[in-house]
């Protein structure tokens, strides 16, 4: 119950509600790189990330992955299918060892009927997702690749980064292909840009992940990135 209270989605619930929620929620552990659900699945559970991080992605017919978003502790996913009952619009896979809480559609519906405040939280999450999609579309249409890559690195650091010395470490390993898929660019271009960012000391590539030594510098680079195009 203590764990549930720390999740922002459930922060406004009273102890009785948290207890009810504890009874219907199922805790699941996933190893790194494990698929939680696939695109097109009909499963309709809502997931809350208790620890670790996940990537939300779509796959093209020829097998190429496009990462839509990465998520970290306290965030929720799978809410689309809970609400409209349609097949999953994207797949979700863990980036590292993760602990997730799942609540199935029927139980969530009953719980939300008794505690409608939780629906506002879900709506907030949906709005945020919609806003992010709009931003991504705008970025792909009007921004150059360096801007999109810097933005993706900042998002990764903020959602799945951990404090490391004076900076932030993104522990999960991202290949050039992963980053390229995420920002809709080709992997060669991403490799070249990553080398440049290393030269600029914006990032450090280590064996077990990526380190951002100075988040402020990375954000500053994002501001001026249009000039780099």
């Amino acid at each position: 119950m203590q764990e549930l209270a720390q999740v922002s989605l459930f922060s406004k619930l009273n102890p009785q509600e948290l207890q009810k929620l504890g009874a219907i929620a199922k805790k699941q552990n996933f190893g790194p790189g494990t698929v939680v659900f696939f695109e097109g699945d009909r499963s309709d559970s809502l997931y809350v990330i208790l620890s670790g991080s996940v990537k939300i992605y779509q796959t093209t017919n020829d097998g190429r992955e496009k990462i839509l978003k990465t998520m970290g502790k306290g965030e929720i996913f799978g809410e689309f299918s809970v609400i409209d009952g349609q097949p999953r619009s994207a797949a979700v896979s863990t980036l590292e060892k993760a602990e997730l809480l799942s609540i199935n559609h029927k139980d969530f519906r009953n719980f939300a009927t008794a505690s409608p405040d939780i629906l506002w939280k879900v709506l907030e999450s949906l709005s945020e997702r919609l806003r992010k999609t709009t931003e991504d579309v705008t970025d792909i249409a009007f921004r150059d690749v360096p801007y999109r890559l810097l933005k993706a690195l900042i998002e990764l650091a903020e959602t799945s980064g951990q404090k490391y010395k004076d900076g932030v470490k993104i522990a999960a390993h991202f290949s050039s292909q992963d980053l390229a898929n995420r920002v809709a660019a080709n992997p060669q271009r991403i490799s070249r840009l990553m080398s440049r960012f290393q030269d600029e000391t914006l990032i450090q590539v280590e064996d077990d992940g990526l380190v951002v030594p100075d988040m402020k510098a990375l954000k500053k680079a994002l501001e001026i990135s249009q000039d780099w195009g």
Partner: protein, 410 residues
């Protein structure tokens, strides 16, 4: 690829032209009966102890087929929970790679998109085969003095012009030029086959499977790379292919001498596990009759499944295997016309745009599940499965027992 309005006029013109000169004979595949069948097996007779005066072994084959069809429909409606169980309880614990491969296999088996680069590449190749193979069949026919299907020989006085016409059509197809005209000519030739009666036309129905794609292509087809067929095109390909074999299955019961005759001349066609399964529990005295019935109903079942889009990839794969075997092992190149359905089945197997005619029932069933109405959900799964399996088989089996054999032979 979009539909063209003038196609029907082309078809009529082609049909009129063709009817002036071409001529079809009996098939190259030998089908003369070596030993007569027991005709009464297939007919109404008060002596039979089966329901409605039907031969009990005939009914038994029908019941076996009903069980298989019902089971497949039930599994189709329950495929989602079965898939979830297999993926989450069996494949996921093995490891992430096994889990992803399990998902790809499950997607293939349940007609969902298979998002894999190798599958996509083979799919592109399959589409080329589907669009081009009629060219090979036409070339073969032209060099064997026959019309489109090598089993319809040309009359000597008009053979030359038709040979050139077929080669020209083959070149147009192989170079992807004027595809709507190619489709219209194939359709026209098909219409012309009615000259020898509906049975001949029905036998050639799978030829139309490629005409759909040609007719719905743009006139500038030579300038474009045709990618994947659209959802609607895929649906037409599946329905035409499936219905062809569904109808041909029933025709085999109706004109059983022809089927038994083929088996008499080519005993290798008797070795089919599904056909043997359908004949389980029948009287060995009527071995050949139950084989005909089982063979026919196996075709009805697979054709019906494809028509309604239930496990389309599995049935299309079985069909592709059977047709390839018929062409390469059992009958030889005289049956090269099977390349049409082989191309069609390949396009179905590798398509990521498959739909099912039962989707609307599933939507209602899922809705009932989400609303917590478990009884309604159960009824929407079991009811249609049993009702469809029963209605597709038994009324037609019963009706065919009234066939006038004397009229058929005259």
């Amino acid at each position: 690829m979009h539909c063209q309005g003038r196609v029907f006029r082309w078809a009529l013109a082609a049909g009129t032209l063709a009817s002036q000169a071409a001529f079809a004979h009996e098939r190259f595949v030998k089908h003369k009966l070596k030993v007569p069948l027991h005709d009464d097996f297939f007919l109404q007779d008060p002596k039979w102890t089966g329901p409605l005066h039907m031969q009990p072994d005939m009914v038994r084959v029908g019941v076996n087929c009903f069980v298989v069809l019902g089971a497949f429909l039930l599994i189709w409606f329950l495929r989602q929970p079965i898939e979830e169980f297999a993926l989450n309880k069996i494949f996921r614990p093995i490891g992430p790679k096994a889990h992803k491969w399990g998902h790809l296999i499950a997607s293939f088996l349940t007609d969902k998109p298979v998002k894999n680069s190798a599958f996509y590449s083979v799919g592109e190749w399959a589409l080329l085969v589907y669009l081009r193979v009629p060219g090979l069949v036409l070339m073969y026919s032209a060099t064997n003095d026959s019309l489109v299907m090598p089993s319809f020989p040309l009359e000597p006085q008009s053979a030359t012009i038709f040979k050139f016409a077929q080669v020209l059509l083959a070149i147009l197809i192989l170079t992807q030029t004027l595809l709507p005209l190619c489709g219209a000519l194939i359709l026209g030739t098909y219409v012309y086959l009615f000259r020898w009666g509906w049975y001949v036309a029905l036998d050639a129905l799978p030829v139309l499977v490629v005409a759909v794609a040609y007719i719905s292509s743009p006139w500038s087809s030579h300038k474009i790379a045709i990618g994947e067929p659209s959802v609607q095109q895929m649906r037409w390909i599946r329905v035409i292919l499936g219905f062809s074999f569904f109808a041909l299955g029933w025709v085999k019961v109706w004109n059983h001498d022809l089927v038994a005759g083929v088996a008499d001349n080519y005993p290798s066609v008797l070795e089919d596990p599904m056909v043997k399964f359908f004949a389980l529990g029948t009287n060995p005295y009527y071995k050949r009759e139950t084989w005909v019935m089982s063979f026919a109903l196996a075709e009805v079942l697979s054709g019906f499944m494809l028509t309604i889009g239930v496990f389309s990839r599995i049935w299309a794969s079985i069909m592709a295997f059977v047709f390839t075997k018929l062409m390469l092992i059992d009958f030889g190149w005289s049956e090269i016309v099977h390349m049409y359905p082989i191309g069609g089945t390949l396009s179905v197997i590798f398509s990521n745009k498959l739909t099912s005619e039962l989707d609307f029932i599933e939507a209602k069933e899922e809705r009932a599940g989400r609303e917590g109405n478990n009884l309604k959900q159960f009824a929407l799964i079991v009811g249609p499965a049993i009702a469809v399996a029963f209605l597709i088989l038994f009324p037609m089996i019963y009706l065919l027992t009234f066939t006038d054999r004397a009229a058929l032979r005259s």
